[in-house]
Symmetry: C2
Subunit: 437 residues, 2 copies
C-alpha cells in the first residue's frame, strides 16, 4: 500500500482558500447574547465598527497580503448558520437556562449574513470599517479580529520549514502544559478560554481548549467560542461588552441621559438575562465614577467584570463598594479578563481567595503565546494588540474611556467631552502592551 | 469528502504486529565493519551474547509481555537485506572510501539471517541469550537492545491517552531543541547520533537525527544507525567495539597471548580499514595498562575512543601518552561516547578545544531523554541501562573490565583472573547510572 493517498494529496494541493472562519458560530458567545437584545430593542440603530491596531510598530499591511485578507473576509460573508447550529442554539442550555434565545430571534438569525466591509491600506496599516445596522456590523468584531490575527501568523509561518513548524508547536504545547500544571494547583479555580479574538489560529485555539479540558477538569468553566463549545461539549461563556454603553451613550440626546446610559443598558439586559449573566462591565467611562453614581439595584447583580484596571486594584475597589452598599462580597462574583497570564491569575486568586467568588477569562496569553517558540529570532510571533470597536452610532461619535486612557477609543474631542461629562478621574497609566487580553 | 479514509483506518486497526526492527540495516555501523573482519578472519569462532540489565530496580519482565518480545524477535529473524540495501552498501562511500565492503563479504551478507535466541523469565528479568557462530550472534546486539527498549516505552505509553502522548512528544521535542540551540554555540563541534541501542523508539530516533541535521548542519557528522544514514543521506558513523578484544582474549591459549590480544585486534583491523576508522578503544581491560604496554605503532593511529572514564580524565591520560610517545596531539582525534549530555559535551569541548581534534557520540540522552515529560509522574519514562555483551567464545568465558568495574562483565572468577593478568589498577568508582550512554 502506498504511503500517500493520491486523491487526498491532490485535494490538499488544490485548495483555493484555507478558510479561517468556517462557521458563524466561530465567534464569542457574548455577541449572540448582545445581538438578541440589540435586535429586540434597537434594531433600527446604525453603528459603525472599525479595526484598531494599538501596536503601531506592527505594520499589519506589510505583513499581510491585502487580497488574502479580502478573500478571507469574503469567505466569511458566504457563511450562514447551518441547520445543525440553529438546532443546537435552540436546544442547548446556556448558563443553566433552556431556550435562552427566543424563537423569533432565532428565525431572524437563520438568514443572517455578515454585511459588507470597507478596506484600504494606509501607511502600513489596514483601514477596515464595517458600516450599517448595529445588528449586522456588531457581528464582524470577532471574525475580523480572528482573520487578521491568523493571517499574520500564517504570513510568519510561511517563512518556516517543516521542521521549524514542528519545533514551534512542540514548544508552544510544552509551554501551555506547564501553565496547566501550575493552574491545577489552585483547587477552586474557575477559568474560561476568552482567546478567540487574538488567537494564533483556529486549530491552535481548539488545542488550547482541549488542553484545559484535559488538564483542569471541572476548573474549566468553558470557552467564549461558541463553535468550540458546541464541538467539545463545553459551556459557552460570556456576558456583555462595551459596545452596549458606548452606543447608548452616543445615542443619548443630553449629557444627563448620557450619564445614565450605563445603567439603562443594565436595565435592558436584566429584561433578557439573569443569574450569572448579571455581570456588570463597569469601566466603559471609568469604574470609579460608575460606582459612585450607580443606583442601589446595581449592587444586587451577581458580579462585576473589571476589565482595564490591574486585577487586585480593580477587585478591591468593587469589594469596597459592595460593602459600602451593604452587600456581602462572599456571595458575589468577580470576573477577571484583562491581560491575564499564569502569574497574574495565581496572584489574583491567592489575593481574593475566600473573600469573593472569582472566575478568570484567559485570552491572548492562552491562545497566542508563541514568543520565543520560533527556531529563529527573526521569525518570532508576537501578537498585535488589535481591537474592533464601535466608532459611531447613528452618525454620532462613540467613545470608550476605560480605566486606562491608553485603551480609550473615539475622536479626541469626543473623548474630552466624555471625560468632562463622566467626571473621569485620570488613573495612573499602564502600558497598553501589558494589556493584550 | 469524509475526513477519514476508511481503507486506511481498517488497515491501521488490522495490524498483527507493529514491528520495531524493520530492516537489518537498522543497526549500528560498527557491527558491519566488525562483521566483515570477523567473517574474514574468524568465521569459525562460536560466541555467545547475553542481555544484561544493569538497572536491577527496573523489572523488565514485569513491564514487557514475554509473547510481545518473542513476536518482535521472531519478526527480526524474518528480515533479509533488501536489494536496495545491498546496492547501497556496495555503492556508498563510507569514511571517504568507496567499496569498503568486499564483494565476497556482501555476497555472504545477502543471505544473512539473525540466528535463534533463548528467552526465559527469571525473577522479574528476561534471560535472553544468543548462542552460535560469532558472525551471527554478534548481529543480535543492536536489534535486541532496540526491541527491549522500545517495548518498554510502548508498555508505559499504553497507559497514556491521546493527549498525554501529544504533550509527551511536544515536551521531548522542545527539550531536544533546547539542547540543539546550546550545542550550536560550539563552532567546531563534531557530533554523531550513537543512540540506536537505547532509543525510545525508531521513529523518535529518526526525529532526533533530523533535528540534529536541521539544527547543527555540518557539526553533525552522521549517525551510527545505518538505516537512518541511508534514508537521511547522512554519514554512517562507527568503528569497533569491545567484543573484538574480548573474544580474542578469551580465545588466547596463554596469558601472554591474552595480554597481546588488544594489540593483535588492532593489527587485524588495520588490514581492513584506515584513516578515521583507525580509532583505538583502549578500555576493554583497563586503559592505563593498555597504554603502558602498547607497541609504538599504536600511537600512529588516528585516535582513541575513551569509553568508560570521565571524558576529561580519560582524554588527558591519552594526550599525555601521545606526548610521551612523541606525537603531537593536535593532529589526533578523541572520540567521546560515554554517558554524554549537553553539559558534559560543552565542558569537554571547552576543556580540549584547540589541543586535540574531538568528536562526540551522543547516545541515550539524545534518543531517550523523556524524564519528566509525562503528564503524570507515575508514567515517567526512565531508560534502563541495558547492554548485550559477548559472554563466551568457543566455550571460554569472555571478560570486559573497562575503566569502571561497575561496567565489568564476565564470571567473578574470570574477572579476577583478567585483573591479575592485565595488572588492572582499580580506579575510583563511578556510579553506573551516570553511564547509560
Amino acid at each position: 500500500m502506498a504511503h500517500i493517498d493520491i486523491a487526498r494529496r491532490v485535494y490538499d494541493h488544490s485548495w483555493k482558500l484555507d478558510p479561517i472562519v468556517r462557521s458563524l458560530l466561530d465567534t464569542d458567545f457574548y455577541k449572540l447574547l448582545m445581538l438578541q437584545m440589540i435586535w429586540g430593542l434597537r434594531r433600527d440603530v446604525r453603528a459603525d465598527f472599525t479595526l484598531i491596531n494599538r501596536s503601531k510598530d506592527i505594520r499589519l499591511a506589510d505583513d499581510i497580503d491585502e487580497q488574502e485578507l479580502r478573500d478571507q473576509l469574503d469567505h466569511a460573508r458566504t457563511l450562514r448558520f447551518s441547520k445543525k447550529e440553529m438546532i443546537w442554539l435552540a436546544g442547548n442550555t446556556f448558563y443553566g437556562r433552556k431556550q435562552i434565545f427566543e424563537p423569533d430571534f432565532l428565525d431572524w438569525l437563520a438568514d443572517f449574513q455578515l454585511p459588507e466591509y470597507d478596506l484600504r491600506r494606509e501607511d502600513g496599516q489596514f483601514v477596515l470599517n464595517f458600516t450599517g445596522l448595529w445588528t449586522h456590523t456588531s457581528m464582524w468584531e470577532i471574525p475580523a479580529l480572528a482573520i487578521v490575527n491568523e493571517l499574520r501568523s500564517r504570513a510568519a509561518m510561511r517563512k518556516m520549514g517543516r521542521f521549524d513548524l514542528d519545533v514551534l508547536y512542540a514548544r508552544a504545547k510544552a509551554r501551555l502544559w506547564e501553565k496547566v500544571e501550575r493552574l491545577r494547583q489552585l483547587p477552586d479555580l474557575r477559568i474560561s478560554d476568552f482567546g478567540t479574538r487574538r488567537r494564533h489560529g483556529f486549530l491552535w485555539q481548539r488545542w488550547c481548549v482541549e488542553a484545559l479540558k484535559e488538564g483542569l477538569g471541572k476548573s474549566l468553566l468553558g470557552t467564549s467560542n461558541v463553535l468550540h463549545a458546541m464541538e467539545t461539549d463545553l459551556e459557552a461563556i460570556g456576558t456583555n461588552a462595551h459596545e452596549l454603553p458606548m452606543v447608548m451613550a452616543a445615542l443619548a440626546d443630553s449629557d444627563e441621559a448620557r450619564l445614565m446610559a450605563p445603567y439603562t443598558v443594565l436595565e435592558s439586559w436584566k429584561k433578557y438575562y439573569g443569574g450569572n449573566l448579571l455581570v456588570v462591565l463597569p469601566d466603559a467611562f471609568g469604574t470609579t465614577a460608575f460606582l459612585r453614581r450607580a443606583p442601589d439595584w446595581v449592587a444586587d447583580w451577581t458580579g462585576f467584570r473589571p476589565d482595564s484596571k490591574p486585577p487586585i486594584e480593580g477587585g478591591e475597589e468593587i469589594i469596597a463598594w459592595w460593602r459600602l452598599r451593604g452587600r456581602d462580597p462572599r456571595g458575589k462574583l468577580l470576573v477577571f479578563s484583562d491581560a491575564l497570564d499564569v502569574d497574574s491569575i495565581e496572584k489574583t486568586y491567592r489575593h481574593f481567595h475566600g473573600r469573593v467568588r472569582m472566575s478568570f477569562g484567559w485570552g491572548t496569553n492562552l491562545t497566542n503565546d508563541f514568543e520565543g517558540c520560533a527556531t529563529r529570532p527573526d521569525l518570532d510571533l508576537r501578537p498585535a494588540s488589535l481591537v474592533c470597536k464601535v466608532s459611531s452610532a447613528n452618525g454620532r461619535p462613540a467613545v470608550k474611556l476605560s480605566d486606562n486612557l491608553q485603551k480609550a477609543t473615539g475622536t479626541p474631542e469626543a473623548i474630552a467631552h466624555y471625560m468632562k461629562v463622566f467626571d473621569y478621574e485620570t488613573p495612573s497609566p499602564r502600558a497598553v502592551d501589558e494589556q493584550v487580553a
